[in-house]
Symmetry: C2
Subunit: 206 residues, 2 copies
Amino acid sequence: MNKIDNPEKRIIEAAKQIFLEKGFDGARMQEIADAANINKAMVHYYFRSKDQLFNSIFMDTLNNNIPPVDDFVDSNMNFEQIICKFVDVYISTMMKNPIGPMFILHELNRKSQNLKQIAENFINKKYQKIFILLEKEIKSGKYPDVDIKMFFANLVSLCVFPFVAKPLMQIALGLTEDEYIQFLEARKKEIPKIMINYLKNNSTGC
Amino acid sequence: MNKIDNPEKRIIEAAKQIFLEKGFDGARMQEIADAANINKAMVHYYFRSKDQLFNSIFMDTLNNNIPPVDDFVDSNMNFEQIICKFVDVYISTMMKNPIGPMFILHELNRKSQNLKQIAENFINKKYQKIFILLEKEIKSGKYPDVDIKMFFANLVSLCVFPFVAKPLMQIALGLTEDEYIQFLEARKKEIPKIMINYLKNNSTGC
DNA sequence: AATCGTATTAACCAAGTAGTTAAATTATTT
DNA sequence: AAATAATTTAACTACTTGGTTAATACGATT
């Protein structure tokens, strides 16, 4: 039929689904073959080993679930608009594949240098610009006391954690599946509010 | 020697270490037995099956890595002090076992009803009081426009995410191991600042 | 010391596991 | 059409896995 109906594509789709759901250790090559409606030997024919197939899926997931935020950095938005856009793109991207973030973070916690190197290259390629821009904006006078690393950590924590901790958070907040989606959607407006408030004010805290 | 030197305790310690590091699917009964310096059959003798041993460890980790915040809710602190204390206890607890949070969240994402029930009971038992208290404080006039669920989600996200996402965040922020520990420590003061600022101000955001 | 329940071990088992292979089928080139 | 190359399959292999078992050592009670 369409371009998806060739063995390699079918394997990739099946592997993506199963690796993301079960992780490397929980995934079985046979199960991937079944899901791709294909003989197990074919999986090895196209991707030599489980490791190689996994790496391919991991990189793909990295590219499709961590949005390339650098892409909208050149536009002539002001600082606050950039934050709003960042949050919007980030959450929208993750909502398309809600288990992607947990998959990435779990595998990075488990495996060693190999995946970390892949992740490092990705970060360097896709997050350089926005980080530098944020730093310049912050230092340039408007918000001189803000720690750029803290700021970035806070921003990403608020965006990503509700995806990673979904099962527990859903229980703790007592939300149904639909309500949780609305909750995530509402955070697109909530998070910028927090971050901008934070920049404008410097209370003493504790 | 001490009370730790009996087979059951040794198995628990070994299993905790290996399950937390590798997850259920990555852990091997033989490896646990080896780490406990004991015959593999003994592991089954004390804990019938891998599932049963795992459940035991999971519950233990839940109790020792998600702090019982309800415990300091009765004291006569004001709202802001409670937030500060919450953050301090939370981060301190997690720093003692930094991979606990990822372990819990990953296993909840993977396994089904069984673990979720355990988690739900835990939440209901240990988070009822603080949630109600926060709600009462917020509604009682001081911060009437704040959504309690959003507030709670933000608070926990800021505390927990840097533990769950450590490998990636360490890369993105360019921090060494020691610097990352300092970074986590500094967040004990950073997070309350954000949350209190947020309560006091209601900007329009985007 | 004889008895009895508990703790411990080595050897074993059946069911998976990733990966291979050799033969068969299909597609492509000559 | 013949030859050659790429794709697909069933059967197989070597090894790992959770779990069992039957025999043995140990410790307390009598």
